[in-house]
């Protein structure tokens, strides 16, 4: 590694998904990382601890995950792109201050390399059991944005996307990795700096005397004054008005909370990503994300090789779920198969969208290992063929 040549580590590398995630953050301009060791996310922190100091960044190991997310929010309000990485137990601890990030509208990235739960569960083994927590884990109404990479290369790319989305929409963004993607070592190609479009938060366009911290136009994303910028910034976790004043009444709440939701929902073009495979004539549609997306790809290709009309919908953004794209892909199917390493989480969203128009088959797991392509094939009605081939 030759960081002396510049912050971005360009070229082809053989690295862990966790490390690729860290490199994606650095590529996106992240210069602050606060974290707490936890399997299987520790390698993100280790990479940042090694890389950030020599490129003018700051690594700090906090006393816990609560402190980590709080420090990340603090760094961001002072104008530095910031990230933390954790796994289930730490993600649980971060929920309250994630809500602070949504409420104050602080751009930042939180990585969760998922392992099996609940509680300490399976620290070194895979899970995708925090998907609903990612969506609803903090109290109150808010709209989370969550990416789900399926490979180290995607961990690199989607971490960049996460920063861009966070800056564009002034909101925390989640990268919901899983243990296998995090600990998988693969080829990662890092482009030259400037080859990816990365948004920056809008700074105040008016002098301090005219600045209204939460004034928005049709874009719904307010301009952000930074600490030390001479704007006498006022930000609060309480319900607040356009001036950032705490006003705890129904009228103010009725303006603020719907805007926070709409700001995300009405900007799908900023973050929505998914992969379609063989969906045009599909009779069975498999939905899978993260490492399970890899198993599902194998299953779909095997089915196609046998002449079965099976397609794949692989969301790279799980929240907000790409519902219109999914419904288009599922228009002609007679069965939807949802595979995920949990006992049924994202499938609830699929069932809601399908609304009884066809069967939705769940391929579930309590966690611990990757779902095999065979189990997904079986759910697609391809069980006999698989066994016959063996």
């Amino acid at each position: 590694m030759t960081p002396e040549k510049g912050p971005v580590l360009t070229g082809a590398h053989f690295m862990l998904g966790d490390q690729a995630c860290a490199e994606g953050a650095i590529y996106a301009g992240c210069r602050f990382f606060a974290g707490y060791p936890i399997t299987p996310a520790t390698e993100v922190a280790e990479r940042m601890a090694e890389r950030l100091p020599s490129i003018g960044g700051q690594y700090i190991q906090m006393e816990d995950e609560i402190g980590s997310i709080a420090a990340v929010l603090g760094a961001s309000v002072a104008g530095v792109r910031a990230m933390t990485a954790t796994s289930g137990p730490g993600f649980s601890l971060m929920q309250e201050n994630l809500g602070l990030g949504f409420m104050m509208e602080v751009p930042c990235v939180v990585v969760n390399v998922q392992r099996g739960g609940p509680s300490t569960g399976l620290p070194t083994s895979v899970g995708q059991q925090d998907m609903m927590q990612a969506r609803f884990g903090s109290h109150g109404d808010y709209q989370a944005i969550a990416y789900t990479p399926s490979s180290p290369q995607e961990a690199f790319e989607l971490t960049i996307q996460a920063f861009s989305t966070a800056e564009r929409l002034r909101t925390p963004v989640l990268v919901m990795m899983d243990e296998v993607v995090g600990h998988m070592r693969e080829r990662v190609v890092i482009p030259e700096p400037g080859k990816r479009t990365i948004a920056s938060r809008r700074l105040p366009s008016v002098p301090p005397s005219e600045y209204r911290p939460y004034r928005v136009d049709d874009d719904l994303v307010p301009e952000m004054a930074l600490a030390g910028g001479g704007y006498s910034v006022r930000m609060t976790s309480l319900t607040h008005d356009e001036l950032g004043r705490a006003v705890t009444d129904t009228a103010t709440q009725s303006v603020l909370v719907p805007r926070l939701l709409r700001k995300v929902i009405e900007h799908r073009e900023v973050y929505e990503q998914y992969e379609l495979r063989h969906v045009k004539d599909a009779e069975v549609l498999v939905v899978a994300y993260g490492i399970t997306g890899r198993s599902a790809t194998g299953a779909v290709e095997t089915a196609r090789a046998r002449g079965a009309k099976v397609g794949l919908f692989r969301p790279r953004t799980v929240w907000p779920f790409p519902s219109e794209a999914f419904l288009r892909a599922a228009r002609t199917v007679r069965r939807v198969v949802v595979a995920e390493i949990n006992m049924g989480q994202v499938v609830l969203e699929i069932e809601r969208l399908v609304a009884g128009r066809c069967p939705v088959v769940r391929v579930t797991s309590p966690g611990g290992e990757v779902l095999s392509p065979e189990r997904i094939l079986e759910a697609c009605g391809q069980e006999r063929a698989v066994k016959g081939k063996r």
Partner: protein
């Protein structure tokens, strides 16, 4: 930095037609959001006044001032001072402030919070920020109870004191905050009451001029919650009560007979009881490399500085 006129109108309609009033601290206060939320007799406003005067005297420019609060009456201070102000979550002001300081080391960052916020829910962050010698000024308004929620017992409620959750008297022992702060590495530790306005102001001036983890405990009356539950009376009565007990560190009656403490001095005498002298003063004033000093030194030594 004059606030927009409609802002004033929204908040204080009754003052719109009144002749303009001036307060010596108007230039460093957000007068447009007054009146404040604090109860009659509360000591937090006095502490804020002393703090703002102290920062002025220390020459901290307005645009370099950052205030971070948690949740509770004392954390509301951040609303009223003209500074970059962040009202965060309960107990988490110190790590939030840590992020700001590390992202922009040129800022003067103060955490203003209450005893429950800093030492119950946020205790872990306090001890670790002090251990790291993070360059923060931490001000604890200690009113011995959770005021905003109506007067429950907290980590500094004196033994035997009554609160709504210790109706028969507190059977727990409180933290001795100066001793705790000194033990975990604070470079400046002082305690004053809100009666000691000038000494408190000078203490803030001195603390603001230093680097590293600085801790100032301000004993403040909370007549509506703590005072009432303990039959002390009004805010002034509560302060009179404390004044009757107060002894200044380094003066006859105060312990021990010197004004500054050498590292390792015994601060066990600074614990607070409502039946014994309350020791106030400056307890610790020492130099130690800050987190960022050490960060840079290590990186430079290893040739890893950018």
């Amino acid at each position: 930095m004059t606030p927009p006129s409609d802002e004033r109108r929204v908040l204080t309609p009754e003052t719109e037609s009144a002749p303009p009033r001036h307060h010596p601290l108007d230039s460093v206060l957000r007068s447009e959001v007054l009146p404040h939320i604090w109860c009659p007799g509360c000591g937090i406003g006095v502490a804020l006044g002393a703090f703002l005067q102290g920062l002025d005297r220390a020459g901290i420019p307005l645009e370099k001032r950052v205030l971070v609060g948690g949740i509770g009456c004392s954390s509301r201070v951040v609303y009223y001072a003209r500074a970059d102000a962040y009202h965060t979550t309960h107990g988490r002001a110190i790590p939030f402030a840590t992020g700001i300081k590390l992202a922009n080391p040129s800022l003067h960052v103060t955490v203003f919070a209450g005893d429950g916020d800093l030492f119950a829910i946020g205790g872990n962050h306090f001890i670790h920020a002090a251990r790291r010698n993070m360059d923060l000024l931490v001000v604890c308004i200690n009113n011995f109870n959770y005021g905003m929620t109506g007067g429950q017992a907290g980590p500094t409620t004196p033994h035997d004191a009554k609160t709504t959750t210790t109706p028969s008297g507190n059977f727990e022992f409180p933290f001795n905050l100066p001793q705790l702060a000194a033990a975990v590495g604070a470079v400046y530790v002082a305690r004053w009451t809100t009666l000691d306005v000038r000494r408190l102001r000078d203490c803030f001036t001195e603390a603001a001029g230093k680097q590293g983890f600085r801790f100032v405990e301000v004993l403040a009356p909370c007549p509506v919650s703590f005072g009432k539950n303990n039959d002390i009376g009004s805010g002034l009565d509560e302060m009179d009560y404390y004044r009757g007990l107060e002894q200044v560190w380094g003066t006859p009656g105060g312990l021990p007979s010197r004004i500054e403490v050498r590292e390792g001095s015994d601060l066990s005498g600074t614990d607070i009881s409502l039946h014994r002298p309350i020791i106030v003063g400056k307890f610790v004033d020492r130099a130690r490399p800050t987190f960022l000093d050490n960060y840079k030194a290590v990186l430079t030594a290893k040739g890893k500085a950018p």
